[in-house]
Subunit: 342 residues, 4 copies
Amino acid sequence: MRCSVIGATGYSGAELARILLGHPYVSVKSLTTRQNNPESIRNYIPAIPKSSGARLEPFNFNRVSENSDVVFLALPHTAAAKLAGKFLRKGKLVIDISADFRLKHAADYKKWYGFKHPAPRLLKGAVYGLPEVYRDKIQNAKLIANPGCYPTGCLLALKPLIAEKLIDFSNIVVDAKSGASGAGRKLSEATQFCEVDENFGAYKVNRHQHTPEMEQELRHIARSAVKITFVPHLLPVLRGILTTVYAFKKKKVSKAQIFSSFHKAYGREPFVRVLEESSFPTLRHVQGTNFCDIGVEVDSATGRVIVISAIDNLIKGASGQAVQNMNICLGFPEDAGLTICP
Amino acid sequence: MRCSVIGATGYSGAELARILLGHPYVSVKSLTTRQNNPESIRNYIPAIPKSSGARLEPFNFNRVSENSDVVFLALPHTAAAKLAGKFLRKGKLVIDISADFRLKHAADYKKWYGFKHPAPRLLKGAVYGLPEVYRDKIQNAKLIANPGCYPTGCLLALKPLIAEKLIDFSNIVVDAKSGASGAGRKLSEATQFCEVDENFGAYKVNRHQHTPEMEQELRHIARSAVKITFVPHLLPVLRGILTTVYAFKKKKVSKAQIFSSFHKAYGREPFVRVLEESSFPTLRHVQGTNFCDIGVEVDSATGRVIVISAIDNLIKGASGQAVQNMNICLGFPEDAGLTICP
Amino acid sequence: MRCSVIGATGYSGAELARILLGHPYVSVKSLTTRQNNPESIRNYIPAIPKSSGARLEPFNFNRVSENSDVVFLALPHTAAAKLAGKFLRKGKLVIDISADFRLKHAADYKKWYGFKHPAPRLLKGAVYGLPEVYRDKIQNAKLIANPGCYPTGCLLALKPLIAEKLIDFSNIVVDAKSGASGAGRKLSEATQFCEVDENFGAYKVNRHQHTPEMEQELRHIARSAVKITFVPHLLPVLRGILTTVYAFKKKKVSKAQIFSSFHKAYGREPFVRVLEESSFPTLRHVQGTNFCDIGVEVDSATGRVIVISAIDNLIKGASGQAVQNMNICLGFPEDAGLTICP
Amino acid sequence: MRCSVIGATGYSGAELARILLGHPYVSVKSLTTRQNNPESIRNYIPAIPKSSGARLEPFNFNRVSENSDVVFLALPHTAAAKLAGKFLRKGKLVIDISADFRLKHAADYKKWYGFKHPAPRLLKGAVYGLPEVYRDKIQNAKLIANPGCYPTGCLLALKPLIAEKLIDFSNIVVDAKSGASGAGRKLSEATQFCEVDENFGAYKVNRHQHTPEMEQELRHIARSAVKITFVPHLLPVLRGILTTVYAFKKKKVSKAQIFSSFHKAYGREPFVRVLEESSFPTLRHVQGTNFCDIGVEVDSATGRVIVISAIDNLIKGASGQAVQNMNICLGFPEDAGLTICP
């Protein structure tokens, strides 16, 4: 299969290109950028071998349409929405790592992202690309909306508890901490070294645009409304999201049931690792990998449940998950291109 | 007044010595260490002027008894408990920055710290040195138990809400993130650079020894039981604790009441700054200072209240607060020695 | 004395304002910014007490002329050159922390900074504000050109060796490593967190604009030409410059002579600390202080001399040195406002 | 081929195990540790797939002798020297990543490492495993002494200039800066987070034990004595060494000759990348890879030559180079197991 990355110089786009260049079953065709005189691809993917012929090129729709079967969109919001339909009409598999196709209701884009969605008709057909929830649908998808980084960490932490209705849905706290690459390559004072280094703080408290995505997907899993309090924080690290989730178990639910729900949900998942009791994940364990590690604590006396998940925001939270979705959709082994120690 | 620091080479002890050496109303007598051939004080307090005569010395009880009116104990747990009584009997003001006199019940030391308290009779008379709660008692104290770093951040975040009974006491989440100096100077694999740098994770999930201290003091403020879920995390920074507290407001409580409770509680406090609505603190704002900065968010629709506090764990969370307590007790201006821009 | 800071929101300007607000012998009048609706000064100087009335204001020449005796210019290059003359004509003491008055020859500005100097006539009268070299002249200065951060670290490392002609002047290597605050607050991709963190590299190799400043001042000390090779590197830290200088001692010069030259030069200097043999400075020892720490190694067999100096680039490398210069010029104790532990 | 890693829980040993587990042409047999109850291999190699059967085991000579053709020794100094002979007598290929077989003269171990070499007779037959210098000998080696991290960065920076005699051999400065993983996993105060973070300094100034290794190998390349001044510094980063080398070109040597020497030496090397003029490497470009990136600056007027090299100290500076050596010796493609984007 031939694939291309539209927007290969952002942090997620470059990571996607890096993974695809090492993938055993695909050939990489176009790696595009908006720059007119693109810098060398080596500046974005230093690990690329000296002998590689890969290079950056300006985006050209016809060229990509002809040379690719799979098109990854790694573009700013709204840019993907404008382009996806054109590739779909050419019969391409489109995997979008922006937020443009994650929400089901066009009105939510207005409310949370502040723009009028350019292609609302496509929203219904887009498949939310979280393999641990939608693997079946992903197999037949034409347009995959790759999940956000925060939602990936939050949804994997909560899925077993929500699906088996083990916790109170009205009182869930999601306290998430993300490395700085989550903000992308765009210049801003907030992401200057002297602002981030040795610092730590919350941002978009209770109003982050990933909130409706989490609530939409939790509702899907629960088959009823789920309300979360979500506060993201900026960590002085390059990569990784640690999500600490606080919930209350239902009265009759035992600790054993809770642990069992995680093992049942993820025992066979190639990229979710449930840690043994009293162990909790750190970013180090997942950086550079497509894993989501999960640790669980149950306080039987008070009924409190704490779930901590860790992912690499650029891999399981973006590019790695996009490749996992492609693998599922195209019938490749699910971990093709995603293992460092095969 | 003449003062000494027993244990001046730990991170908190050295910071205490640094502050006291710059204090306008005290003279520093003994700075002690357990080392037999103490290194230069400059290795621990690089900012000390070339002309300073300050030096480290081995601990000698008689010497300190004679040369000091105020004795700061900056020792490992249990060591302070063994020593405090001897200084008290000599009529010294004792300010202990270990945990040895913070808990009212000796049994709690067995349960949470794993040791039999060596001086349980002193517990009752010790004053918990959080000026924003106990200023009156501190004025007449003989033995001050300086609060823990996590409790300081948590208690200041919750005090107005608890004191005015604006929130549900049974459902409070305290998600705290601390810099590495909180672990002290003791060697451990967990605090090696290659373990902490670019990493992040929770530790002692739901079982940190500061939990009973927080619940004891919240109960004091509330005049009834308060139960918290407390999860500390280790940040890859040198200094600072950011605490994100999640609670539910009582039904009839308005957003205005909540903000007003903070302004009432802290408007005249020299070291607590309540930020304006939609502003939230970061570690940068408090590093190197004795401030506790607090930001508040109220979601009227759902009733959720989020309070975020930031302190420097070595200053407001330890040494600065110890000096603030001394100032109160001795009748100095409360911010003496604690301002950088007087 | 009344003083003002023109440009108080850059990293150096804010640090200057912070130091001056705590200075015992001056009152701070205007702290100016180019912003029309200036943010709170607390965002730039978090340590400022709650009760402080200090605030930011747009720059107004007449206002500053009337309210100040000393004017600190903390402006981008060329802006200071345009303004200094106007304040000088009003009889103000002007201390400029930009590069605009450091070089004696206007042509060098064209060559190294790329601009035509707007006030070349002022260059001759400006005093280079390195107290350890020019203390006498600083006492009578009207216009003080505060040294660059790299030159401060380099010149203090080399002064004794050059002044006593102990080393070969034709073969000096200056390998300097600076924290990121040296680049200032201006937005740039090179100073984004994800570019600097966990990274390290050289920049402006052999062509940094501080090179002519170092060579000019070394020539002044030597009374003959000195040629250096200078390579600056960017460290993933907020503050500090470590400079490793490599030279060859002249044949008959002994190790004792070399150490003695440093003790003679700096024994009475309040802000230069020569470490004992086999000790070398680290950034930690000088961060937050006005000290320059210096370690010396002599390899008698081969004749190599290694000198390592450390400064805080924002303090001894900028704002602290500016205040030291003011203190000297106005007859205050040289360390007024510059000690943390008096 | 079957291989084992003796000492797979140090930073280099674990990285070696990780690379070998992903190598297409070898099977990993024993990964040993001195721990009696070894922790899970996942704690050391988090990227390992869930399905991997790899585990840690206590070292057993007979077991490794039977199950392996290639034995990698990743042990502390002297431990490797004691073991290597036993494996050699069993006909195994031994690749040692300690310093135990790098120096040709046993006396140098006494002088620089402070121990009497336990197997001096093996020193002569050991091949120094720097492929860019000794590729031919490595093909027939039985015992490969994998180069130190600092020597790798230094030797690759200097080889073309030394081999073609383009610079003065008596006046070379090597200023190297290394990330903290170079110090290994052993506990020490110097490598605690609070000592390293936001800090920077030199150590073992002019007396680092890698100095004789560099001079020995430079002498081999030069066919005459080469004397360097070497100062290592500790960077607050996890991985990477940047080496800035200063030399003087011989009078008649042109800039073109110098650049040409690098292109000739490394044009066909799979893992050395010579950057174009005015470009210089950063750690980011080589972290996680087996590359050595090199930038060159020539100041024709003064004759100074500056060469900057960057490597990942755990990969090209240790484990990756060990695998490169194995590949050469066993006739595999030289980059087998060492590319991320094949």
